[in-house]
């Protein structure tokens, strides 16, 4: 079979080959340049054989597509696996969620500082010790003063811890009655950031759709959008649906946030005016319908903040710990006050009986905040420690007062440390505190363990993803050499063809 080759076709074939080699080297160049770029997907030059020509032969019919025209560049694609992206996004959400919970519960634990020698339980123990001391030396004014000072110290320690817990919580999720605190809360800042990212995703969607519709593959834009989605998934739980022209929809639960090029719903962090004295956390609402979506926000940092700053009871929360401190102090104060009212003091003007101004050790003022914030040590007793009812009202004694050496009521006060109190779930104050901080500790440790597990899985997934989309410089160098050689070979072909034509045109005289 004889085939006739169009005369100058070889030039074009060699030219195409040179162009393809150059394009390939440019792709290698881009890959090496972006070896350390976050979210970059390794790009590949898609080449295929150019359409073959129909070549008429001598003495036969036209042979269809037998004459190769060399190579042609089809596209530059990225090595990417969108299913891995989805898995990694989920894993990021889980990790950030648990890490956030761990972080803030650890701070809570630091505030409660159960093993510190000047923490809450130390101050409690000192108070009960002071009561025991008082029982031994009820007639000693210095010991009475010490008792009152210890009461003051215990209250201060509780209030300080409660204040710090309250502040921590306010900084995370705001506090009702303080509208400014919602805008500056961590949750609101994250929500703002989410909104910016949603805008960017929508904008990228439009650009990607334009490029794709015109037949191109916007690799870099796709990479950028993937990075944004991954950042978003660290902040909250999102789901992504892929659509025509490489566009995506972003959803929170069943609520659509981004549809193609539009942000359908951004998120608003608003004050929880329906909150009670327990300071409900910030409400997060959809911009279009003002629907509250707190219950949908279960993942990522925002989900973690809503858990640790929320009112939930299934795991430890700052509010929960604050409530426990409040309960503990209130129960101790109630027990001490009832003993104070029932006992006998050294106030001879009132026949040793506590009167309205001296029948409490801890005064509770009226208000709506947690009681622990409203307690104060009775100022009359601070001014005159002889008003402490260290003695019991003794029925065997006329008038009930047995004498200045009677410290039996103080013994009862000291033994409250061991008394099982119904309001503390039939635990003693010491056991109550110990059991609550143990539960907090276990919850932190569990959250930390799961955060670490998620991180390990995340690293493995990331490794698998990098195996597909990461750049290996050695590989690129080999490619570079491969295409360099191809370029050289094509140039050699061109050179050879040129000589052949030179011979045909110039030397044949």
């Amino acid at each position: 079979m004889g085939i006739s080759v169009p005369g100058f076709m070889s030039y074009f074939t060699a030219h195409r080959s040179i162009l393809a080699s150059q394009a390939a080297m440019q792709v290698v160049n881009t890959n090496i340049s972006n070896a350390n770029t976050v979210g970059y997907s390794r790009q590949r030059l898609e080449i295929q054989t150019a359409n073959a020509l129909d070549a008429p032969g001598v003495g036969n019919n036209v042979a269809n597509g037998v004459l190769g025209q060399g190579v042609q560049v089809v596209d530059v694609t990225r090595s990417h696996d969108r299913f891995q992206d989805a898995q990694i996004r989920t894993q990021h959400g889980l990790y950030e969620n648990q890490a956030t919970i761990t972080d803030y519960l650890e701070r809570t634990e630091g505030i409660v500082s159960p093993l510190s020698s000047n923490g809450i339980n130390a101050s409690m123990q000192k108070f009960f010790d002071a009561a025991h001391q008082l029982s031994l030396h009820a007639d000693d004014l210095a010991i009475r003063t010490n008792y009152i000072k210890s009461a003051q110290n215990m209250l201060n320690t509780f209030q300080q811890a409660a204040n710090q817990l309250q502040d921590l919580r306010t900084s995370l999720v705001g506090k009702s009655g303080d509208s400014g605190s919602y805008d500056t809360s961590q949750t609101a800042l994250l929500v703002n950031d989410v909104n910016t990212k949603l805008d960017n995703v929508a904008a990228l969607n439009s650009q990607i759709a334009n490029v794709t519709a015109s037949g191109g593959t916007p690799n870099d834009l796709l990479d950028k959008r993937d990075v944004l989605l991954e950042e978003l998934s660290k902040e909250m739980n999102i789901s992504v649906t892929y659509k025509d022209n490489n566009q995506i929809d972003v959803k929170l639960g069943s609520n659509i946030l981004v549809r193609s090029g539009n942000v359908v719903n951004s998120l608003n962090a608003v004050e929880n005016t329906g909150g009670d004295a327990d300071d409900n956390p910030v409400l997060i609402q959809l911009s279009s319908t003002s629907t509250t979506v707190n219950s949908d926000l279960t993942g990522g940092k925002i989900g973690g903040l809503l858990v640790v700053g929320g009112n939930g009871t299934t795991t430890s929360t700052i509010r929960g710990v604050l409530g426990q401190l409040n309960t503990l102090f209130t129960q101790i104060a109630t027990e001490i006050n009832s003993l104070q009212a029932a006992g006998q003091n050294l106030d001879t003007a009132n026949n040793n009986n506590p009167v309205a101004t001296s029948n409490t050790v801890f005064d509770l003022s009226v208000g709506t905040t947690l009681s622990v914030f409203r307690y104060s040590v009775n100022s009359n007793i601070v001014a005159d420690p002889s008003l402490v009812s260290a003695a019991i009202t003794d029925s065997t004694v006329t008038g009930g007062f047995a004498g200045v050496g009677d410290g039996r009521n103080a013994t009862l006060m000291g033994e409250i440390a061991n008394k099982t109190i119904a309001g503390l779930g039939n635990l003693s104050p010491t056991s109550y505190f110990n059991s609550k901080v143990s539960i907090l500790g276990s919850n932190i440790s569990a959250a930390r363990d799961s955060a670490e597990n998620y991180q390990t899985v995340l690293e493995q997934m990331d490794g698998r993803r990098l195996a597909i989309q990461g750049v290996n410089v050695e590989e690129e160098m080999v490619d570079l050499m491969k295409y360099q050689r191809a370029f050289e070979a094509s140039a050699k072909v061109l050179n050879t063809m040129d000589k052949v034509f030179d011979l045909l045109i110039n030397r044949l005289v």
Binding site: L115, D129, A402, R448, G463
Partner: protein
């Protein structure tokens, strides 16, 4: 996980993250070795911390109970001391009564005996007014009031401490729900006496001695003789009180020993839970350090190795 392709950034990231992990292990060990504490926060070891918190609370309580007991022990030994003095006084009075019961004793000798008995009575009063840290130990709850006051003109001794008809026992808490009384009632020990002209009424040692003195003054040998037995009886009462006190002393001391024995075990458990096992921590540190150096050297090699080095 098998990775067929390895991206360079992965190598670097892994290397750096391993170095950071290893360094954080080392920092953790450093912190533990430097502070000597294994658990700083419950979340580091929830199970251990739960035990530790319980033990620590128990330990501080034990400490308080021991303080209470020591206070009780001091007061009881002081009371016992005072009772010993009272016993000596009673013994001396009995001797005097025995000597005075002999009809051959002259009037002047009798008046000598009488003034010695008078002296003994005022010694009794002063023993009864023994204080501990400024508090009258025989006054019951009225620790600010001298329990016995002697009217030197009439010889009447009145008791103003907590009367036996009222609760008078001061107690110390020695354990949860357990209290031990640390005082005796002054009136129970010394009694009281009212002298109105020639009539003497009252009870106890004070009464007996006053009766003896009056009998000596009036050379009433019969009464002197009968008061020997009376004083002997009072002496017996005091000895009984002393042995009762000794019983309580022993009980307190046994409780203290028991608490201290338990504290030794508690302290050991606390140490086991809270303290760092130093040899282990240090060998862990060495081990970690080797791994850390390994991770540094492997990264150094990876950073230096590239195909680029071999391409001319």
């Amino acid at each position: 996980m098998t990775i067929s392709r390895v991206a360079n950034s992965q190598l670097y990231d892994r290397g750096v993250s391993n170095i950071q992990n290893n360094l954080s292990f080392i920092a953790d060990l450093q912190n533990k070795i430097a502070s000597g504490r294994r658990i700083e926060k419950p979340s580091e070891d929830p199970v251990g911390a739960t035990q530790l918190l319980g033990l620590l609370s128990e330990d501080t309580q034990s400490e308080q109970y021991i303080k209470n007991i020591e206070e009780g022990l001091s007061e009881i030994s002081l009371t016992d001391n005072a009772l010993g003095t009272v016993g000596d006084i009673a013994q001396r009075a009995r001797e005097l009564a025995v000597r005075a019961s002999n009809a051959a004793v002259s009037q002047s000798q009798l008046s000598g005996f009488s003034s010695e008995v008078e002296g003994l009575i005022s010694q009794l009063v002063s023993a009864g007014n023994t204080t501990y840290g400024g508090r009258y130990i025989f006054s019951g709850f009225k620790t600010d009031t001298a329990p016995f006051s002697l009217n030197t003109t009439t010889g009447t001794v009145t008791f103003s401490g907590s009367p036996t008809t009222e609760n008078y026992e001061r107690t110390v808490q020695t354990a949860k729900g357990t209290k031990i009384a640390i005082n005796v009632n002054g009136e129970d020990v010394l009694g009281n006496v009212t002298v109105s002209g020639s009539t003497v009424t009252g009870s106890g040692l004070l009464y007996n001695l006053t009766v003896l003195k009056k009998a000596m003054d009036s050379a009433d040998y019969t009464t002197v003789r009968s008061s020997i037995d009376q004083i002997q009886g009072s002496l017996q009462d005091i000895l009984e009180k002393q042995s009762d006190l000794a019983g309580r002393y022993n009980e307190l001391e046994m409780t203290k020993n028991r608490i201290e024995d338990r504290r030794v075990l508690q302290t050991q458990s606390i140490a086991t839970l809270q303290n760092v096992d130093l040899p282990k921590a240090i060998s862990d540190l060495n081990f970690q350090q080797n791994i850390y150096e390994g991770s540094l050297s492997i990264l150094q090699r990876i950073l230096n190795t590239s195909l680029v080095n071999f391409l001319q």
